[in-house]
Symmetry: none
Subunit: 184 residues, 2 copies
Amino acid sequence: MSSVPVKGATRGGEGGRNRWCPTPEQVMLLERMYRGGLKTPSATQIQQITERLSIYGKIQGKNVFYWFQNHKARDRQKLRKKLMTMYQQHRLYPSHDQPSLPFHQVGGVEDESSCITLVNNWTRDLPSSQTCNLMCDCPLAMMMMDRYGTTPCCTRVPPKTLQLFPVTTTTTPDVKEDNQFSNP
Amino acid sequence: MSSVPVKGATRGGEGGRNRWCPTPEQVMLLERMYRGGLKTPSATQIQQITERLSIYGKIQGKNVFYWFQNHKARDRQKLRKKLMTMYQQHRLYPSHDQPSLPFHQVGGVEDESSCITLVNNWTRDLPSSQTCNLMCDCPLAMMMMDRYGTTPCCTRVPPKTLQLFPVTTTTTPDVKEDNQFSNP
DNA sequence: AGATTATGAATGAACG
DNA sequence: CGTTCATTCATAATCT
């Protein structure tokens, strides 16, 4: 009993007290930015976004931060699930050779940026400067590129092959027991 | 591979499978230690802490290590964010000359250890080798004296001035290309 | 009403 | 050390 983790105590919970409730305008703008390519705003960007969005309602920097964090994570999660499903199906019907699900329209993400895009932006969303100038010309949208967008557009990063499933024999992901700490 | 323990799967993720879930007692004690001034436990200290806390539930050294690492980082993030907001506000309303936000109660941190304290512990929490023998042989609870603790050791270090913003450059609108901040 | 989904918040873990 | 990621919690909205 004492060993039980005890859920529901200090965890992410509590959040119910006075949780930020974004206005439709705020959501819309945040989404537009996200779609525009802003996936991981810097502190400064968050600050600015917060400032701009505050005219639509109470909002704090952390709200913006969490919003992007969650949105990105959930996008990725969806993708992962989808790919997982594909993989499963492929294992079950390897001969079928998917009639039409190489990568597009597999299931549910109706984001204009479809899977393939996500995959590209995946392993590491954007090199560093998320400068897809997809972001039309709305005043808000363009404030996120720091100092003009030199990069053509979402420079693709094919570097790492993202080994999704343990195709190989899975070399014991088990961690070594004894750890070494450091003391700088 | 000198500082951090192990190196699990791909990223911080995955670890979710068997992630350490601290018991309330463990959290309480860790917090007390942190508040008491222990910000960066040495390998030895981590070992001892781990040992003591293990009576409340399964716990590994790396958990303690990460706990302090994260706690400190997030404290600092909070501070940074707050100061940044202050800075912004000051830029916008420089004449107002803050009626009441020299440093206390700026926004949200209700931690008893308020900003000023954080700032003190900031630049470098402990001299370097926190040889504060706080650890002595006390039964954990007081392993790191509860801030009444006077200050036998853990001397404050005011060495580095924390250059948060380019205070000198009052004209530059951009702070630079900094990074994330988060947490409430 | 109970189960399910959506989402803000938090935090353990790990990377660069 | 700062940042990023995955997972989990708690709650509100929605579905069945």
